[in-house]
Amino acid sequence: MNTMSDPILDIRGLTVTFGGGPKPVRALDGVDLALGRGEVIALLGESGSGKSVTLRSILRLHPPKRSRIEGSIKVEGIDVTSLEGRALESFRGKTVSMVFQEPMLAMDPVYTVGQQITEAVRNHEKISAADARARALEMLTLVRIPSPERRLAAYPHEMSGGMRQRAMIALALASKPHILLADEPTTALDATVQVQILLLLRELQRELGLSMIFVTHDISVAVEVADRIAVMYAGRIVETGTVRDVIRTPRHPYTIGLLSTRAHGGRLEGHRLPAIPGSPPDLANLPPGCAFAPRCAIAADACRASVPEPVDLGGGHRVRCFRTAETVNKVAALAPAVTS
């Protein structure tokens, strides 16, 4: 996993500001993220934390007129922010592809699944219709859709939620991308189907050697698929590290809070969940210092005055917090209770 010397995706100082409203909204503020070849990173955060904005920035999906993007995004050494025209079209889908939360919205309702995959393939490769169709069939087989020949002729609405998400994954992988971006791909699915899709993505990632960024609000989903976790809060990455480091020895007060806040196991009479007070900040009115400071139990004056820079704790575990000396012993008390 030590591929950081040559990351396939390298984001530096990414700042995204959306205009259009009464006040500009700074959705991302100085995001640094490096994805190694064959690595899976989970971007974890609540609504408005900037995880989806980060994904969309990589594919350049933000409307250029209403968004200002600063910083650099490099994929396989190519500067994504300057791509135009054909180069951008080829980049989208062939180099980097994306799976969305709601396949019903992401797919075209008036074309069959087979037609959509075939079209995607022929957009990127000069191959015959028959070959493209063969590829589509191969893709549906790859994502373990039962009776794939029949499913090629199915419209998205004729499929169940789980099958549709499999078809969406087939569509995203049809042009053989190197990087797969997944935006909450299992959030809309039922529990028993979510597990199936997570296992599928994990297997495909390994089989195809994909590099992957997986956006989720659910820590347990991140633990299932990721090598590393990056926790986002109010447009900044506040903690990154291996899954084990972040889950077992979280050092940012927000991560610690999120982990202890989870309902886990049964409840003793009178027991309450430890809860983070307050609510996530308004991105148009961010405080000058650490955005989490108003909700943080150990915030000091320094936290309210300036934004902390990442502190390296070793092993790639980095935390944007002035108070890491205070969080070091919080861990034992916070480890999720073992329930059998």
Binding site: L199, S220, V223, G266, L273, P274, P336
Partner: protein, 351 residues
């Protein structure tokens, strides 16, 4: 008479530690609700969604009954039928033994005692009323004077953790999701109900806010002596908040029992599979195999017999032929599975 059968079927009131059987507060007896699907020019209906198909259970005073199941299992339809928001095709709902909409319990009186909180905190508030007016609306309809209703609204806002001086005059769009859901809870409390039905009430909230609202619900329950029906797809949250849990599958009750018994020793293969889909939170104990293949079948044309037999690894011929009845499988624990029913003919059932 329906109430009697319910009583004998579920005598183990949640935490009834005493010997006397506790009278159920709310009872659902054999509820059925089918939705016809209209198609074609003349709007003929040629198929029905069997959303709720024979659901019977009791809710005991002071407990929290969790209802879990996947989309299409009928948990929300059950809630709406209980609330009398939609009329069941057959079966009945009883509050303290009385049916709502009858001379002995008017619908208005029923609704003042049973209230509901929905998932979408924004859609369930009138965007043109301040939150104070929204909360005071119910009491005024029920004959409380305007000033008293406003006073009550302010007291409730304070109780759910929203300072009335800051929040009373705000409109729903000026609040965050968590704050709006607190307003919805305050509004549900305004008529001083006995039962609150929470239909995915915390599902749309961020995790850090969800914990606050769950704690609030627990506090209110203890202080006011409320009884909850807590519907959620989040199995962790249900385990945390519920005393008893009912598992639904395609319009029927698969299993109902005390939370711990169900989570540690579920007897229905669907319960086991559903709970087996919970993720471990342990990077060294990742899920290696999905407990079930495929999606839940369509409730339009559900499988015969036990509706789970198409996905069940223990299915035998009896499972597609005969519908299993809820059978005692432990203290206050009932399971609708032929394997639990002695003499059902299933090879795994005790003869």
């Amino acid at each position: 008479m329906a109430s009697d059968t319910v009583m004998t079927r579920a005598p183990a009131a949640a935490q009834a530690t005493g010997s006397e059987p506790v009278r159920p507060l709310l009872e659902a007896a054999d509820l059925v609700k089918h939705f016809p699907i209209k198609s074609g020019l003349l709007g003929r209906s040629n198929a029905v969604v069997r959303a709720v198909d024979g659901v019977t259970f009791s809710l005991y005073p002071g407990e929290t009954l969790g209802i879990v199941g996947e989309s299409g299992c009928g948990k929300s339809t059950t809630a709406r039928v209980l609330m009398n928001l939609i009329k069941p095709d057959s079966g009945n709902v009883l509050l303290n033994g009385r049916a709502p909409g009858t001379p002995e319990l008017s619908l208005k009186a029923f609704r003042s005692q049973v209230q509901m909180v929905f998932q979408d905190s924004y859609a369930s508030l009138n965007p043109r009323l301040t939150v104070e007016d929204s909360i005071a609306y119910g009491p005024t309809v029920h004959g409380v004077s305007g000033t008293d209703a406003v006073r009550r609204a302010r007291r409730l806002l304070d109780r759910v953790g929203l300072d009335p001086r800051r929040f009373a005059g705000r409109y729903p769009h000026e609040l965050s999701g968590g704050q709006r859901q607190r307003v919805n809870i305050a509004r549900a409390l305004a008529l001083e109900p006995k039962v609150i039905i929470l239909d995915e009430a915390v599902s749309a909230l961020d995790k850090s806010v969800e914990a606050q609202v769950l704690n609030l619900l627990l506090d209110l329950k203890e202080e006011i002596g409320l009884t909850y029906i807590f519907i959620s797809h989040d199995l962790e949250v249900v385990r945390f908040i519920a005393n008893r849990v009912m598992v639904m599958y395609l319009g029927r009750v698969a299993e109902i029992g005390p939370t711990d018994a169900l989570y540690t020793g579920g007897r229905h293969p669907y319960t086991t599979a559903l709970l087996g889909s919970m993720l471990s939170m342990d990077p060294d104990e990742r899920t290696m195999e999905a407990p079930l293949a495929g999606d839940p079948p369509n409730p339009i044309d559900p499988p015969s017999g036990c509706r789970f037999h198409t996905r069940c690894s223990f299915a035998e011929s009896v499972c597609s032929a005969k519908t299993p009845a809820l059978t005692v499988s432990g203290t206050g624990h009932f399971t609708a599975c032929h394997m639990v029913d002695p003499g059902s003919g299933h090879s795994k059932a005790a003869a």
